[in-house]
Symmetry: C2
Subunit: 195 residues, 2 copies
């Protein structure tokens, strides 16, 4: 009701500007050249504001991704009753995102920071990979109930087999990242390698 700006709202505006600047600069410069100073400058805040909220540029970039994921993605995987089709749909969307130049560099930066930084990896596991994994397992459980999957399946291993290869191929540049590749992964994992 007062004419003076609301401090918590001003903080939220600054926080959003910082997260957006971190993603934008990570994409333009790559992780190695990304600096807290550069992010502060682009976001129009002081460096101390950033250090008050985040202990490192890795944790800041990670929060930027969480915001992105929270805004862009569905809460649950699609469940049309056809597991293979639903998995292919999700993986095709993943490929579209991974090959988008706006996200390619910042996402590579996050994934390689995790490789070297166990604290960030733990954060990633508990706040991003973990919740996403639960959504994937919920979809697989539904398929088990529908008789589409074995009931004694190791769901964690199933998630790794279905969702790992596309991420790997993107990270390691080991082959073209096409929807056809995703389809072959899903079909092969579902039916297994034995005759």
């Amino acid at each position: 009701m007062s004419g003076s700006p609301d401090p918590s709202r001003r903080s939220e505006t600054a926080r959003r500007a910082i997260l957006a600047a971190a993603l934008d600069l990570a994409g333009k410069l790559g992780y190695a050249k990304l600096s807290i100073e550069g992010i502060a400058h682009a976001a129009g805040v002081g460096k101390q504001t950033i250090y008050r909220w985040w202990p490192s540029k890795g944790s800041l970039l990670f929060d930027a991704f969480l915001t992105l994921a929270g805004e862009g993605e569905a809460a649950a995987l699609p469940d049309t009753g056809d597991l293979a089709a639903d998995l292919k749909l999700v993986l095709h969307a993943t490929i579209t995102e991974l090959t988008d130049p706006r996200y390619d560099r910042p996402m590579r930066a996050l994934h390689t920071e995790i490789v070297h930084d166990p604290a960030l990896a733990a954060d990633y596991a508990s706040r991003l990979d973990g919740p996403m994994r639960e959504l994937k397992k919920a979809r697989l459980r539904s398929a088990q109930e529908a008789g589409e999957l074995a009931t004694d399946l190791d769901l964690d291993v199933a998630v790794d087999l279905l969702f790992g290869p596309v991420l790997n191929r993107w990270l390691q540049h080991t082959g073209p990242l096409t929807p056809d590749y995703a389809d072959r992964v899903v079909d092969t994992a579902l039916r297994g390698l034995r005759p």
Copy 2:
């Protein structure tokens, strides 16, 4: 036969000293702090010697790994006639290597450089991942001939499903890297996810 040192032999000695120093320092310092200057100092050679042979620290570290792989690993995967047992044996050995502190840091360094450097990734694909992949596919072809695998299998996808998850779990710290995990990956991939 002459008493003077053989120049090609002297070169080979310097090359080996440089490769050993690169691996050693990558393990101690991590990739970011690894420098050509530091490697030259540890190997007892001039920086120019290194720059004459390698265009970047990434390519030098990669050569160091090729030397390590060439010295330590068998030319072909074991083939006892029991595919599951052979795959588990190989993956257990991989886990032992990945969790060895001498190799953990330099191998993480190589894997993350590949993520950001397409030229190094191409080198990795053609000189390390490619030849290793051929050995894996040769073992799977032998299993196809023995009736252990489907004859119409997509062998590249099969390699990704069998060998990707252990590497991923190590890189992303998403769970404990145990022989039991490797066994569950092999068993699940072979039988498939369907009932």
